[in-house]
């Protein structure tokens, strides 16, 4: 039972960190918060692996730690420095409003998952709702922030939420799928980084609100 409490505790912490990401005003803070979330996710995976004793979830935990907790944040920090992105976040929706909306999204997520939870195990309950909340918050992050980099972070947050869902509801997918997903996520971030670099070159900014030539 200890581990279930731990998982629930960690999941709640992940949700809180998502709100922290939402509340960040500086790029560095944002990336660090994201890294923290990924590390917590790795921790959840590790606890779960311990509980179920399945090896491949350990692998998942390790991969999460390495890829999302270390590699991607470093890559993002490097990109921010390299592309000389302005440090400020420049939200389209102000921080207080963003937090309120995020709270609303959490409620929605709980409301939506409510009928599902009845049939699920105890671990799943909170985690599913939280994972959906994190997905929503990540998506809202992409909607409410201007920079290409913040959009990437939003997407990564969505994927974190997803991972929480994967490991908590199903105790991990088949290994090949898991690895494939990791590979894809990594590639996606890399490719987005390449495009961010190209966009910076042709638009001389990473502010996506300037990219409105294609319309109608």
């Amino acid at each position: 039972m200890l581990s279930i409490d731990t998982i629930n505790f960690l999941a709640a912490a992940i949700l809180l960190v998502s709100l922290l990401v939402m509340a960040s005003t500086r790029m560095g803070q944002l990336v660090r918060s994201f890294a923290l979330q990924s590390i917590m996710l790795a921790a959840v995976a590790a606890v779960l692996a311990h509980q179920t004793g399945s090896d491949h979830i350990y692998l998942v935990a390790a991969l999460t730690l390495v890829v999302k907790g270390v590699a991607i944040p470093r890559f993002l920090t490097y990109s921010v420095d390299r592309l000389k992105v302005r440090r400020e976040i420049e939200p389209l929706v102000g921080i207080p409003a963003s937090l309120l909306i995020s709270g609303g999204l959490v409620i929605v997520a709980y409301y939506v998952t409510e009928p599902l939870i009845s049939s699920a195990e105890a671990v799943t309950r909170n985690c599913l709702a939280i994972s959906l909340s994190v997905v929503f918050i990540g998506m809202f992050m992409m909607i409410s922030r201007r920079k290409a980099i913040t959009q990437m972070v939003g997407l990564l947050m969505m994927e974190n939420g997803l991972f929480l869902g994967i490991i908590s509801t199903t105790y991990g997918m088949p290994l090949i799928v898991e690895i494939g997903i990791f590979f894809d996520v990594f590639m996606a971030v890399l490719i987005m980084g390449i495009f961010a670099y190209r966009i910076n070159r042709s638009f001389e900014t990473l502010d996506t609100t300037f990219m409105r030539r294609l319309r109608g």
Binding site: M158, T169, M173
Partner: protein, 485 residues
């Protein structure tokens, strides 16, 4: 083995990527795509007529076989068309030999990723393959490296990634829903396994899962209101790639939706089909508005794709033998016809150097063959008999009427008439009138007319006469949907 089907495009891609001369790239590309098509034939034949191939990771049932056919056929035509298209680009200085290598490498990789989508058994792997198609094609969309192209590929990448992430959540829930249905420890993401226990999946989870998959894959399939990346990507990509995106990529996403639909329909009858009808009609409605007002030729065609994906969704949603047959027919016909349309558009755009339809005049004079094929394509895509799309629309309509869905049927009819009006208005405007100064008479390239002629003939013949094997294959797919066609 199915691996061979995947190996040929991979090898072709690598060889193209390593070739030195223009000539060898083109030869390799065309040969590779044709060999892929040849290799695909026995697999598809087996899948259609001897039951599904289920070998480990791979699973090839009639539905996948249909998509394999579409993918290899359109890829082959695109690789033929690309030859003169890129030659022209090279003459104009839009592309150099490196770009050529890069283009063909990605083209075949793209084909590979799409083939992967339809031949894997596991839904998780399918998801991975779909994400891979996005990643590969993003580079193709951004091929011209102009700022608009960058913008389009960024939007494409971000929106589709978001969508696909949602779809993954859906797949997870699907996976979770199976835990009660399968014996302990054997929970599986394999579609063939899930299918066999579809009736026992947890309905509550399945519903949420389907919504997530529909929204997520619908983003990629171009269903409104998630279609927003589509006109941008289609208009900025090189035209052969636009054809590939529109005719094949959207279908691959639709394939994913269909797989989910088949499962959900078994467990929660009526839920997924009514959602498909709703999204289909909404897409049709939105696309009509844009078709009526679009001025950019390729955006115009892109919205037409939104419209047709809507019709296909509508057909599958209506269901029944008529609806399913109509939707399948429409899916096939739309792929072929839209390819034809994009090829014609490619000729026109390279000739006139603009995509703005109001600046394109007098096609009938300058490029009579292209103009003829464009008009034929327009008639076909707008659902005029005897072209194959008409068959699809006719059966979908009949299906709707037969199932008593009069309101969707009426709306459908009204909207396709409006689309016809919008289509003809633009296309006629381009074909008539005086060509502007500086546009010389004559087609650009003769070989690129060959795939177009093949396509036009195919959609015409398919509309009038459906060969026996074709019908057998369709009815094999129909059995998958539980209807006898």
């Amino acid at each position: 083995m199915v691996e061979l089907l995947l190996l040929v495009p991979l090898v072709t891609a690598l060889l193209c990527g390593m070739s030195r001369s223009e000539r060898s790239i083109f030869t390799l590309s065309v040969a590779g795509s044709l060999i892929t098509a040849l290799v695909a034939i026995p697999y598809c034949h087996a899948a259609f007529f001897q039951g599904p191939l289920d070998r480990g990771l791979w699973y090839l049932d009639p539905l996948s076989a249909l998509f394999v056919c579409i993918i290899v056929a359109v890829t082959a035509l695109v690789s033929v068309y690309s030859v003169e298209y890129l030659k022209h680009d090279r003459q104009e200085g839009e592309a150099n030999i490196r770009d050529l290598r890069y283009y063909h490498f990605l083209l075949h990789l793209f084909a590979l990723s799409m083939l992967l989508v339809v031949v894997v058994d596991s839904l998780g792997l399918m998801w991975i393959a779909i994400e891979a198609t996005t990643l590969v094609s993003a580079f193709l969309v951004g091929f011209y490296k102009k700022s608009e192209a960058m913008e389009a590929s960024w939007k494409y990448l971000i929106i589709c990634s978001v969508g696909i992430t949602l779809a993954l959540l859906g797949i997870i829930l699907l996976y979770a829903s199976s835990s009660g249905a399968l014996p302990e420890g054997t929970d599986s993401l394999d579609w063939s396994v899930l299918r066999s226990v579809a009736e026992r999946l947890d309905p509550a989870l399945l519903k949420v899962s389907f919504i997530l998959m529909l929204v997520g894959l619908g983003t990629k399939a171009g269903l409104a209101p998630m279609h927003t990346w589509l006109p941008d990507a289609h208009s900025q990509a090189p035209t052969p790639i636009s054809a590939l995106l529109s005719a094949v990529l959207l279908n691959c996403a639709m394939y994913g939706i269909l797989r989910a639909h088949l499962l959900v329909e078994a467990a929660v009858p009526g839920f997924s089909s009514s959602l498909l009808v709703a999204f289909g009609l909404f897409s049709l409605l939105i696309a009509t508005a844009f078709i009526l007002t679009s001025r950019d030729l390729k955006r115009f065609l892109a919205f037409s794709s939104v419209e047709h994906m809507g019709i296909i969704a509508l057909g599958f949603g209506i269901g029944g033998p008529l609806g399913i047959f109509g939707a399948l027919m429409h899916l096939i016909a739309h792929s072929l016809t839209k390819t034809l349309m994009f090829f014609s558009a490619g000729n026109v755009i390279q000739k006139y150097g603009t995509r703005e339809m109001r600046e394109i005049k007098g096609l009938g004079r300058t490029m009579p063959v292209t103009a003829g094929l464009l008009i034929a394509g327009m008639a076909a895509i707008a659902g005029t008999p005897p072209f194959a799309i008409f068959i699809g629309e006719f059966f979908i309509l009949s299906g709707a009427l037969a199932s008593g869905a009069y309101v969707p049927a009426g709306l459908f009819l009204l909207l396709i008439v409006a689309v016809f009006a919008g289509m003809t208005y633009r296309v006629l405007g381009m074909c008539s009138g005086e060509p502007q100064e500086g546009v010389s008479e004559g087609e650009i390239g003769r070989w690129r007319l060959l795939p177009m002629a093949v396509l036009a003939m195919t959609v015409l013949v398919l509309g009038i006469y459906q060969p026996g094997p074709f019908m057998d294959a369709i009815s094999a797919i129909g059995r998958l949907f539980g209807v006898s066609i």
